[in-house]
């Protein structure tokens, strides 16, 4: 069993996740910039574009706090704050190399439980401001949850089944040699889709999309907005990062040490998601629901059956 990380890791983890979120958001801003304004002419220009998320954070910090008439401030604020809290707590079981902040025997269930907090978070943030458009956004996320959550749970259960353990450390150890992605490709792809969906980002950003003036985030200003939308990037980083121990062999790999492999693989997954986002419009749940239930659920079930048969025969 891998040994637990020292306690100072609890301070390093949120900082590391925040740095990763800023880098990922910067990469995203660079790609958006080249779509809007053409390719960056110089390295300096590209760098300036990549700094957009940090500039935005500072801008929001300078904004005056704002609240809407007869808002439910307690629940609204709770929803806002819950997004980064859920992300970082889920990140606690994320192994860096072979060591996580904590590696409980039910780590996978913990991860699933924490990310399920996003349901409450987005809905509460949408309900709080007493505004029609943010309410619409909040409810969009509930429908989204109904679509992504089951395929997602089957996907992570399949990985756990491959290792016959709910401990993340065991799942990584079971991939010494053969990564799970090789014999669970369907589960991996479904996992990535649901990672996007639960961080309500990219093709799944309907709950906060422009057509509803920002949906659940429509009335958020200042630090509230920073925490909510920044927390969204944290969620994306954590869920994308968790695909590494689940399917991509965690810290396993030749030559490089475990932590370096974790880093390389996480960066690769994030880059894939951020770049791949450009190929898709936003998916609306009235259309996606059917696909999720009638294609993704049976697909992940068959994948799980296949893995179960392999496990029986090894």
């Amino acid at each position: 069993m891998p040994d637990a990380a020292p306690l100072w890791a609890t301070v390093v983890l949120p900082v590391a996740l925040a740095v990763a979120a800023v880098v990922a958001a910067g990469f995203d801003a660079m790609l958006s910039g080249s779509a809007e304004r053409g390719p960056a002419g110089s390295v300096r220009e590209a760098g300036l574009r990549a700094l957009a998320p940090l500039r935005e954070a500072l801008r929001l910090l300078v904004q005056r706090p704002r609240r809407t008439t007869a808002a439910d401030r307690l629940l609204g604020r709770l929803g806002v704050v819950l997004v980064p809290v859920a992300a970082v707590l889920a990140g606690a079981v994320l192994p860096w190399g072979f060591r996580a902040v904590s590696d409980p025997s039910v780590g996978i269930v913990w991860f699933n439980a924490m990310e399920a907090l996003a349901w409450a978070a987005v809905w509460l943030a949408g309900w709080g401001p007493n505004s029609a458009l943010s309410l619409v956004g909040g409810y969009r996320f509930l429908a989204q949850g109904l679509a992504y959550e089951l395929p997602h749970m089957f996907a992570i259960t399949t990985a756990a089944l491959g290792a016959e353990s709910l401990r993340v450390g065991d799942v990584v150890a079971a991939q010494d040699g053969l990564w799970f992605v090789v014999w669970m490709p369907a589960a991996f792809v479904v996992y990535l889709l649901s990672a996007l969906a639960m961080s309500f980002w990219g093709p799944f950003e309907h709950p906060v999309s422009r057509d509803a003036a920002g949906g659940a985030a429509a009335e958020l200003a200042g630090v509230d907005r920073l925490v909510f939308l920044g927390g969204r990037w944290l969620l994306l980083v954590v869920t994308a990062g968790f695909s590494v121990p689940l399917f991509l062999g965690g810290g396993h790999g030749p030559l490089l040490p475990g932590w370096a492999w974790t880093l390389v693989k996480t960066v690769a997954v994030l880059a894939l998601l951020v770049a791949g986002r450009r190929a898709l419009p936003v998916l609306r749940m009235e259309r996606y629901m059917e696909v999720a239930w009638m294609v993704l659920v049976p697909l992940t079930l068959l994948q799980a059956l296949f893995v179960a048969v392999v496990v029986l025969n090894r």
Binding site: A52, R59, V62, P65, T69, D211, L220, A221, V282
Partner: protein, 409 residues
């Protein structure tokens, strides 16, 4: 010198822009979009996130209250500028940026003024402070009185004869990616549109011709207009509409490319320089199966129904749903590519603007507005926005109704 002041000033070096376009100001909107994009300032779609409200067009006196309302709901540091004349925008933005930096740095004055204002309001019966306590809506209280000056939702029948809470929400005119001046008074149950009333801002008689129809109208008045410039205008209009629809659908990347191409077409870029980029973008949209799957079947408008409603132009020719209309626009753009530099004069009897026949009994956008209620009722809010964007009525045309009608008669 002081860290706090420096940070505040830095924060405002690229203020976030909320742009509102008034009817008749299409040209100003395009200029503002291009200028803001060139500077790399963030563009936002709600006052909560905005620092700078850019009003494109001259506000009529009727517009003042709601524009004031938007400005008041923007958190400090906040500023409104009005871009009334083309060519002055760059200076206005520079000044605005300077003012915002000053505002951010001098904080005390703003705060004192605001505290006094809040105190005023809470003295009134049913003021904000009072509302905060009742706004939590505990389930026992079913008396639908006013809370903080606004009634609670009442119930009404839905299409399945359930009695459900109804909200009356006016959408526009400051929504982003939205036809300038359009106001849809929606009756929402959940996010389902149960009723639509099409309304618009007052359309002051303007000496300016509607921007998108200009070449054809000028030719009709006997001016010398080259075919190339008319084709350019049509391509740009369709790229603008396509960019708007794609932005509403949430495909920001392609939407941004469409808008960049639109500006290049308008600024006179040659066929060779934009042809490749344009064809790639059109192919990308055409081939996207997720896009087709996502918006196919929305706002179905068969040709016979369209014709009966008086629709002409791409919406009639597309003979189908939002996706068909999008492809129709893009294919017309691609076809137009050949004629971008055609110097021959436009025939004065060619009156087919980007949105349809300009010599009909009513401007083409009138018909597009008239069929909105029928297409929107029963749609979800997101679908309703997509349908509106896929028809993209141009309210500038409404102000022109008598002129083009007279020209024909």
């Amino acid at each position: 010198m002081d860290l706090r002041g420096a940070l505040r000033r830095t924060a405002m070096t690229r203020p976030a822009v909320l742009a509102v376009t008034l009817p008749g100001a299409t040209e100003l909107r395009l200029e503002a979009e291009a200028e803001v994009r060139r500077r790399g300032w963030p563009v936002v779609d709600a006052p909560a996130a905005a620092d700078l409200l850019v009003v494109c067009g001259d506000p009529a006196s009727d517009d003042t209250p709601w524009l004031d309302g938007i400005e008041r709901s923007m958190p400090e540091p906040a500023l409104r500028i009005v871009a009334g004349e083309s060519g002055q925008l760059a200076d206005a933005l520079d000044t605005a940026r300077r003012d915002l930096i000053d505002k951010a740095a001098t904080r005390r004055a703003a705060e004192v003024a605001e505290v006094a204002h809040v105190a005023d309001v809470s003295d009134e019966p049913g003021g904000h402070e009072h509302g905060d306590h009742e706004g939590h809506g505990d389930g026992h209280d079913h008396t639908m009185g006013e809370v903080a000056g606004l009634p609670m939702a009442e119930r009404g029948d839905d299409r399945d004869e359930l009695r459900l809470d109804r909200l009356h929400v006016p959408i526009g005119p400051a929504s982003s990616d939205w036809p300038a001046g359009l106001v849809l008074r929606l009756t929402l149950q959940g996010d389902v549109v149960q009723g639509v009333e099409v309304d618009h801002l007052p359309l002051p008689p303007s000496p300016r011709l509607p921007f998108w129809d200009e070449p054809w109208l000028r030719a009709a008045h006997g001016d010398e207009v080259s075919r190339g410039s008319a084709v350019r205008r049509r391509c740009a209009a369709h790229l603008d509409s396509a960019g708007r629809l794609l932005a509403v659908v949430g495909w920001d990347d392609v939407a941004a490319r469409c808008r960049r191409l639109r500006d290049e077409v308008l600024s006179g870029a040659s066929r060779e320089s934009i042809g490749g980029d344009l064809r790639r973008t059109v192919r990308r949209v055409e081939r996207s199966r997720p896009l087709r799957w996502s918006i196919a079947g929305l706002g179905e408008l068969p040709a016979d129904r369209a014709r009966a409603a008086g629709v002409s132009g791409p919406a009639l020719a597309a003979d189908g749903d939002a996706h068909d209309r999008l492809l129709k626009w893009l294919h017309e753009v691609e076809r137009g590519l050949e004629g971008l530099d055609d110097a021959r004069p436009l025939a004065p009897d060619d009156r087919t603007g980007p949105r349809g026949r300009l010599d009909g009994p009513q401007p083409p956008s009138r018909a597009l507005l008239d069929i909105l209620p029928e297409l929107l009722t029963g749609a979800e809010f997101a679908c309703a926005r997509i349908i509106v964007a896929s028809l993209d009525p141009d309210l500038d045309e409404l102000a022109l109704a008598p002129v083009s009608g007279a020209a024909h008669a």
